[in-house]
Amino acid sequence: MRLGELQLRRGLLLLAAAAALSAVLGGLARLGLGTDWGDARAVDHGPLFVLGVFGTVIALERAVALGASWGRAAPLLGAMTALALLLGFRELGPPLAGASAVALVAVNAAIVRRQAVAFTWLMLLGSGLLLVGNVAWLVGVPVHLVVCGWMGFFVLTILAERLELSRLAPKPRWATSTLWLTSIALTAAVGLSLAQAPLGPRLLGVCFAALALWEVRFDIARRLLSVDGLPRYAAVGVLAGAGWLGVSGALLAAGGLAAAGPHYDAVLHGVFIGFVLSMVFVHAPIILPAVARLELPFSSTMYVALGVLHVGLSVRLFGDFLPHAALRRVGGLSTAVALLALGLAALWSRRRVSERRPTA
């Protein structure tokens, strides 16, 4: 890999980290724990995290997987979306996010041409949902419905990766068929949701719950719980994430999706923190070295961050349903603490790597 390419990837990750910090401050502001910067970014909290952080990182991972230089357009446009929101050019966010999604669809389509199998098609479908969601955002569909497209993108993208890994273990034929049928139903649910049909979010919830069950049953994570070190850590995060996907699914199926309020808060954060962020936490030691040559050996201290993430989310949801504003605030703050803990664990891990390296 040329040095310029490496610097570009690291720059994109740094920008995603800045977007994450800003999104966290915006989220804390929405919980009444405001700072000047956070207050100004409160309204961008969702798009910053979803598109600026997760979207950029996933697009970068896919571009690296493709290995073609044009594929960089996807994460670059994702990073530009983040930059636009960070600098207050909110009106540029939706068109840039739309362009990033187009590029990601193109990357995934190229990967399908390379290997046309179930999980690559699923990943392409997921990126299609991101594109649909971003176009909906651009044309003014209410954000609480746009997030259905965003949630659909992340769920299908992650399930596609897990489907790929699941090939390592035997599973019955109907397992892949079931996943596909559920994903098609999920796609329909996103469409219905964006069209403001009340059935949409409820069907989406049923699909999330079904996919969570699929993960618990067929993901190789169950078999990796017995393997010391990083595989076990990743397995714990994956299975815990599946649990939260099931919780959000059940909440959606039972109650639909309100435009705001405790139910909306619980559904969204169950998916984006419990499912997506948990995956990010446990895959950071795998993806950072692969994508940006940033060695991050697994350290058992990372369990602290993962634990704070999941316990804190539980507290948040208790706060949503009791309701109890202070619990909700503590739960929300704990996500920021978990991110900080992960950062500290990463620094600790890298320090151990430096100490082990022989000096000249």
Binding site: M1, F119, L168, P172, A290
Partner: protein, 132 residues
């Protein structure tokens, strides 16, 4: 009743597709003797971080060719859509370069024949629950 487990991919059961590079019995390719054997053992220390199993046991190493101090390896990934390819190739190269007698290393990522679970070692297959 025995469950109807998923058939292995067509490439796995097609003898032409398996070929010299895809034989389940890798002993003709990955000989334990000499530098080739040392290379194979070195590659056994390269771990796929997602599953905690080395790339030889996973069946990702298709061929090792040693001519004097020059080592050529053909390897694959479980999917051409994997972002870990670059990283594992670098790790593999680093391991081989540390071996005495190695002067030059080339590692090529190939995608034919496609990887499938039959290429894993018996131990790896047992870990993931495949019947012996």
């Amino acid at each position: 009743m025995k469950p109807a487990y998923q058939e292995l991919s067509a490439a796995a059961s097609d003898p032409l597709a398996r070929g010299l590079l895809g034989a389940q019995d890798m002993s003709s390719i990955l000989d334990a003797t000499g530098l080739a054997g040392e290379v194979r053992r070195a590659l056994g220390s390269v771990i796929d971080p997602e599953v905690g199993i080395d790339i030889v046991s996973l069946g990702l190493v298709y061929a090792i060719d040693v001519r004097g101090g020059e080592v050529s390896v053909q390897m694959t990934m479980t999917t051409p859509a994997c972002p870990l390819g670059e990283h594992l190739v670098l790790d593999a190269k680093r391991c081989i370069q540390e071996l005495p007698g190695v002067q030059w290393v080339d590692i090529e990522l190939v995608w034919e024949p496609p990887w499938d679970p039959t290429r894993m070692s018996a131990e790896a297959r047992a870990r993931f629950g495949w019947a012996p």
